[in-house]
Structures are given as structure tokens and as C-alpha cells.
């Protein structure tokens, strides 16, 4: 039986260890980057996972991670989130968006060296019969501010996902890193 995402580690056995593979990693260099792209994604896995640390260059102390698949924008994405601010909990949603939103991370107004973190699961990404569902968890603690975030979004498109663009409101700061992994069924 395939392990369930989220309890992946606890479900590992010696016989399944080879079913989690590193596909590609991007680390943002000096000067930043507006977009991190994973292209020509192999269609040989069942699920994808993206793990990363991130800091945006936009003003303020918080930034969203935005994702687009296959270069599709329009109104193809809708998202939901559960957000803890350290003092209160809120839930939000936004339909018909040009991109999916998956985690809140830190930004240029955050304390120096503070990077948010995210773990994103893209489920059954190569299937061509259904819309795609993405879920993420993460956030950014900033020693007195920040968020913890559960989030999901839908890509209302039945195409197999072959490329992923990860953007922010401005640029990604140096040392931001996203790593793409494939999980076999």
C-alpha cells in the first residue's frame, strides 16, 4: 500500500525508500529572482512534493508563495487557507484567481536572515481526467510576529502538469530555495 502523504516518513520501509526521488532544485543567487521554474517535469511519478525556504523582497514582513502550472493564468485557480497569527485564527478563500497561493513566508521587512518554510504536495499531477489539487503547510515565525498556515488550492484544469512557476509579489531574495521531488505510487 502506498504511504499517505503527510505521514510519509512514518510509513517508510526499506522496500519503498527508492520511491521518493529528487528531480530538481533551484537556489536563488545574489540579486534575487522573480520566478523559480521547474520545467519538463517527468510524468513517471504519482505525486510531486516541493520543499523550500523562502523570503520575498516585497515591503512588509509577509509574502505569499504563488504557483502557476503549465503557464496557465486566467481564472484557473482557487484557494483556501487556515491561518494562525499567534493570537487569532482566520480562514480565507479566493476563487477564480490567476495563480494558486500556497504559504505565507517572510519578506524584506522581516528580521534579517529569517526565511519562511513550506512543504507542498501536488497530487496525481500527471492524471489527465481531473482537476488538480495542491496542499501546503508552512509559514514564517519571526520571534514576535509571523504566521502558521495550512493551505490548499485547486488548478481547474485536467492537463498533466509539466511545468511549475513559483513567484512572489516582487522577487525572491538570495538563498531562497525550492526543491522538487517525485513520489512513485
Amino acid at each position: 500500500m502506498a504511504p499517505i502523504l503527510g505521514i510519509w516518513a512514518s510509513a517508510q520501509t526499506a522496500s519503498t525508500l527508492s520511491s521518493y526521488d529528487s528531480i530538481a532544485t533551484v537556489t536563488v543567487g545574489a540579486g534575487g529572482a522573480s520566478t523559480v521554474t521547474f520545467s519538463s517535469i517527468p510524468q513517471t511519478y504519482t505525486h510531486l512534493q516541493i520543499r523550500g525556504i523562502a523570503r520575498g523582497t516585497v515591503g512588509g514582513s509577509d509574502e505569499n508563495i504563488y504557483m502557476q502550472f503549465n503557464g496557465v493564468a486566467g481564472t484557473s485557480y482557487s484557494w483556501h487557507r487556515l491561518l494562525g497569527s499567534g493570537s487569532s485564527v482566520s480562514s480565507g478563500a479566493n476563487p477564480s484567481q490567476p495563480s494558486g497561493v500556497i504559504t505565507v513566508v517572510s519578506a524584506s521587512g522581516s528580521t534579517a536572515n529569517v526565511f519562511g518554510a513550506t512543504i507542498v504536495d501536488i497530487l496525481d499531477y500527471a492524471n489527465t481526467s481531473k482537476n488538480k489539487t495542491v496542499r501546503g503547510l508552512g509559514g514564517s515565525d519571526q520571534n514576535g510576529s509571523g504566521y502558521a498556515c495550512f493551505q490548499s488550492f485547486a488548478f481547474n484544469n485536467t492537463s498533466a502538469i509539466t511545468s511549475i512557476d513559483i513567484t512572489s509579489s516582487a522577487n525572491w531574495a538570495q538563498y531562497t530555495q525550492f526543491a522538487l521531488y517525485g513520489i512513485k505510487g
Binding site: 526521488d21 529528487s22 504566521y147
Partner: protein
Amino acid sequence: MPTTYDPIATQTLGSDSNFITFNSIANTYTDLIVVVNGKSTTSGPASDCYVRLATGGGAIDTGNNYSTTRVQGDGSAAYSARTTSQSLAQAGGVPAGLAGANDRGANIYHFMNYANTSTFKTFITRGNSTASNQSYGSASLDVSLWRNTGAITSIQFITNGNYASGSVFTLYGIKAA
């Protein structure tokens, strides 16, 4: 494609202990994951859990360099809480003395980009703690910060009271291409 999800070490407590530590962690992976399946001996239905870290092969950092933002649901309400400038990071929870004899909690810790020497370290904890005989339980997400740019070389897991005998701690490494 390289195989990249490796078990590094497992510790199973043979007797009650306030803490366990993974030392001499190599810097050859990108992320670390620790799966904890355990219980606390303290009174009450559940106990918070905590993390301390070290770098450079040195001593565990007990300075006030840890903070956490939490979102949690306990079956009746959702809430969020925060700790700042603490000597340990609040992260996860386990059932405790008033829980059923066979109850165990599950915490999965993700230490992201733990070996880089340019950023403070952020780690994510998914926690679940259920006391079957107390109608008490919770599901939580903790995002914690260690204000240190050093590569993590030791991880210490602590709870109130002791981790009960039989609690299991397994360390995995994920290596990016």
C-alpha cells in the same frame, strides 16, 4: 534520479527520559525529518513538546533564541498562540499520564535547509495528540525559528516530565539534487 529519502538513526527509549538527542548529524542532506511516536509521564491528558538545537558540533543552545507560532484545533475550538525569545522551541505534543495506557502521539518535525550557513533555521512541526479516555486531543501546526545561521549538528527533543519508555524517535535525511 538519485534515491534521496534515507533513514539515519532511530532511538527507542528503554526507560523514561526527559529528553533524547541526535548528535553528530552530517551536513550531507538538504532537509531533516524526525518522526516521534511517544507519550509523556507528566500528569494531565497531554504535554507540550520542545526542541533545542546545536551547531558546529558544540553544546545544545540553551539561550533565548527560539520562538514559535502555532495554530491548533482541540475538537471544540481553533486557536493560535506564540512564544518569543525562549530557551527552547515549543513544537508538537504527546498524550500524558491521564491518557490511556496505549495512547501515543505523533509529531513529525521538518528541519528545512538545516545545513546552510546563511539563514536562521525554520522548522515545521505537525503534531497530533489524543487521549482516548479523556475526550481530549488536538491537531497542531507549529512554525518555529532558531535565530542562528549555523548548520544544525544536534537536535534535542524534550517534554514536560519524561518521554515514556517505548517512545520512538526516527531521524531521516532528504537530499535534493
